[in-house]
């Protein structure tokens, strides 16, 4: 399946100078506006059994050339948030409120028809399963050329030439443009998906779990590619993933979502080195870390709520080790602190100074966990077990 080894660096650059657009902005664009401003976005799904408030009051910004990572467990509204920007939603979903401003242009009120000008041309998506997202009966090059013909109206020959350049940019040899998807390996298919997303030189690329189904080494290759493209093209990226480690390595800012709302948002380094929201703290303590001396993970009890009937007050309170009475009644408002972190939690009231409140980690697991006995004859592994047992609660929280 390997195919020819293609050098990681392609010989050409798509955009000449970082951050400079090759194409004019849409006519109504305000050149001084923030690239993307989302305010109080709400997207509901209508089911026969009730209304699912999948996204319920989400606000965030994306600046030019920035990478924003959206994290959270399955069913927290990550993908729905991103797909709501251009209303790429299933029929039973509806954006019921909020505002989405791209270059200062309001997209939320635009008609389906008017929105089409922005789909793929200004915001494109790298979907998760490259295996399913590519059409098996079309040549890869033609699939990459299609949005160029459809959206930019270029002649076929020119679009094909550009498609081959794009393939080369993402590390696929030009002559493989004539291949069908099944002739490419998993990693190359994902690269082709990226080439497709870049076809119209969009302002924003949304990566929806772009590396989740891939092997470790291929994931590293794709992340490296995205990083290079960001550098080379000044790409603005929204990366949706359940893997916080991927965000730590590739994004500038992280937004942690829980049950359709933002729990915490801020610069990656600040949030990862001192997570404030109990949910962020628990998520981070639950990721395995090769760099850590202790081979332990924290256990997060429970699962995200059913969004047809979300719990009153803070939606995280049933799982929160720090839950107070107020959490069961009042939805916490988002507070932004001087270090750029925004957090929605009653532990951090608007009047407070935002000092971090570490949560006790109640239960840990892993071969170093207290109570885990290793095999007879397996030496070495349990040596530090006692040390871990003696460790004060909360030490796990980064």
């Amino acid at each position: 399946m390997g195919g020819p080894d293609v050098p990681i660096e392609p010989p050409i650059a798509l955009r000449t100078v970082r951050g400079r657009r090759q194409w004019p902005l849409p006519k109504q664009a305000d050149p001084n506006a923030t690239l993307l401003v989302v305010e109080n976005l709400r997207t509901y799904f209508t089911l026969s059994s009730g209304t699912v408030k999948a996204v319920d009051g989400v606000s965030f910004e994306l600046h030019d050339g920035e990478a924003l990572g959206i994290a959270g467990e399955s069913g927290c509204g990550k993908t729905t948030t991103a797909l709501s920007l251009l209303r790429l939603l299933p029929a039973n979903a509806k954006v019921v409120g909020g505002s989405v401003k791209l270059f200062g242009i309001e997209l939320a009120t635009k008609s389906e028809n008017a929105l089409r000008r922005y789909r793929w041309r200004e915001i494109s998506v790298i979907f998760q399963g490259a295996m399913n997202a590519l059409n098996p009966v079309l040549r890869v090059g033609d699939q990459v050329a299609e949005p160029i013909v459809e959206r930019l109206g270029l002649p076929r020959a020119e679009a094909n030439r550009r498609a081959r350049e794009l393939l080369e940019l993402v590390g696929i040899a030009r002559d493989r443009a004539a291949d069908y998807p099944h002739q490419l390996s998993g990693g190359m298919r994902q690269r082709a998906m990226i080439a497709m997303a870049l076809a119209c030189d969009p302002a924003i690329v949304i990566g929806d779990e772009p590396t989740t189904a891939l092997d470790v080494m291929v994931q590293a290759q794709i992340l490296e590619l995205l990083e290079r493209l960001r550098e080379q093209l000044g790409l603005s990226l929204i990366l949706i993933t359940h893997d916080l480690s991927v965000i730590a390595e590739t994004c500038d800012r992280v937004m942690v979502m829980y049950a359709g709302r933002v729990a915490e948002e801020g610069p990656v380094r600040t949030v990862f080195s001192g997570p404030r929201h109990p949910y962020t703290q628990m998520l981070l303590a639950a990721i395995p870390n090769l760099d850590s001396d202790k081979r332990l993970l924290a256990t997060i009890p429970g699962s995200p709520p059913d969004l047809r009937t979300p719990p009153p007050g803070c939606r995280f309170h049933p799982r929160c080790p720090m839950a107070m009475d107020v959490c069961r009644e009042i939805i916490p408002e988002e507070v932004r602190y001087a270090d750029g972190v925004r957090v929605a939690c009653h532990l951090y009231p608007p009047s407070g100074d935002g000092t971090r409140r570490p949560i006790p980690i109640l239960e840990v697991t892993g071969v170093d966990a207290p109570g885990v006995t290793a095999a007879p004859g397996v030496t070495g592994a349990p040596a530090r077990g006692g040390g871990a047992a003696a460790a004060p609660a909360g030490e796990l929280a980064p």
Partner: protein, 373 residues
């Protein structure tokens, strides 16, 4: 009682590549996919052995041989010191299955949507006919469900899979593996489909069960960091061979094989990188070659970062390195590890230098005429 519960000796699984009908008549040979290509491995009683590899490494095939779903084409399989390679039916196989059980990856596909939880867990007991009394069977099923953390078990027993969450389904699958009281459980990517929160729960359950029931696990995963959390020892597979094996700490902290070294270096870490930290990564070029065309010599040599840097040893191209002992039960299959030498520290991969416009002289792709926008 043998300290080694399972032992593989020079195990081979070669799948013939089937040609056309004409080829078959003319007896033209087509070669084989060498999924598992001669591995020696011992699983010690009571340990969690992490078998780590990328797709195409042969890790799942190895697991399937151990649970007797795939026939090896060569080598031996020993359980508790007894050669069971030829056991392919009858009471001996039934006895083997009672002692060795399997947990599959996807709890959504493992469970039959039309079967209750109780029936799923009870099925092995019925097949085995070891508990003839229905009431006793019932009790065994409830015990297994309780042990898998589905409490109270009687609440869960008569539900259908669609009524359960992903974590609960995986617990049901684990209960099904437990009900016969096995000694070895082969778990093939048991947590890779699960969310972080559920993943920790299941790992914890597996470790608790080891303590309570004295289980031994072969934990098959592509994720080195999960193996780091749960495994006592880690074996790294590549293209049908074990390239490295040892205590988890030795393999992760002092890898003796360049492939392991590269795998460790690219594992994303939840700690945001310092400036220049990313240069530590060694990203291998290309993907695992096909197991139908395994490179000569060391099968990793075409992708080995040492080949790109220091020039490759002639030996790497011509001779397959055996597992060299590096002390403390740690062994690595690399000519650089001969005589137990540690792998020299490889300085950072030169970070991929983006070719900027300045370098290429602005010869980017042809700009589209603005009028087309």
């Amino acid at each position: 009682m043998n300290e080694e519960l399972v032992r593989l000796e020079d195990l081979q699984v070669h799948f013939p590549i089937r040609g056309s009908f004409a080829d078959a008549i003319l007896r033209r040979r087509h070669g084989a996919v060498r999924a598992v290509d001669g591995i020696d491995l011992a699983i010690r009683r009571g340990e969690v052995l992490g078998l780590v590899g990328e797709s195409g490494s042969g890790k799942t095939t190895t697991g399937r041989v151990i649970v007797k779903l795939t026939r090896p084409t060569g080598g031996r399989l020993l359980l508790d010191g007894q050669d069971v390679t030829a056991v392919w039916g009858g009471p001996a196989l039934r006895d083997y299955r009672r002692r060795v059980q399997l947990i599959f990856q996807d709890p959504y596909e493992t469970l039959n949507p039309k079967q209750t939880i109780h029936d799923f867990v009870a099925e092995p007991l019925e097949v085995q006919r070891i508990v003839p009394l229905a009431s006793a069977r019932e009790r065994r099923v409830l015990e297994a469900l309780e042990a898998a953390g589905l409490r109270p078990a009687s609440d869960f027993a008569f539900r259908y899979p669609h009524e359960l969450s992903g974590g609960q389904r995986q617990r049901v699958v684990i209960a099904g593996a437990l009900v016969l009281g096995p000694e070895l459980v082969v778990a093939d990517e048991p947590v890779s489909m699960l969310d972080v929160s559920i993943r920790t729960e299941i790992l914890k359950l597996m470790l608790d069960l080891r303590t309570e029931h004295g289980l031994t696990y072969l934990f098959i995963t592509h994720d080195l960091s999960v193996a780091w959390v749960i495994a006592d020892r880690i074996a790294v597979m590549y293209l049908g061979r074990i390239l490295e094996i040892g205590l988890a700490e030795d393999v992760i902290r002092r890898p003796g094989n360049p492939y392991t070294q590269a795998l460790v270096s690219v594992m994303p870490s939840p700690e945001p990188p310092e400036i220049g930290h990313r240069a530590k990564r060694q990203i291998l070029v290309g993907e695992t070659p096909s197991a139908a065309a395994i490179p000569t010599g060391c099968r990793f040599h075409p992708r080995c970062p040492w080949a790109a840097r220091a020039g490759i040893l002639e030996r790497c191209r011509t001779a397959e390195p055996p597992l060299f002992d590096m002390g403390n039960g740690h062994a690595a299959a690399c000519w650089l590890a001969e005589g137990g030498r540690p792998l020299p520290v490889l300085e950072a991969t030169p970070a991929v230098v983006p070719q900027t416009a300045g370098v290429t002289g602005g010869a980017g792709p042809t700009p589209l005429p603005a009028a087309n926008r």
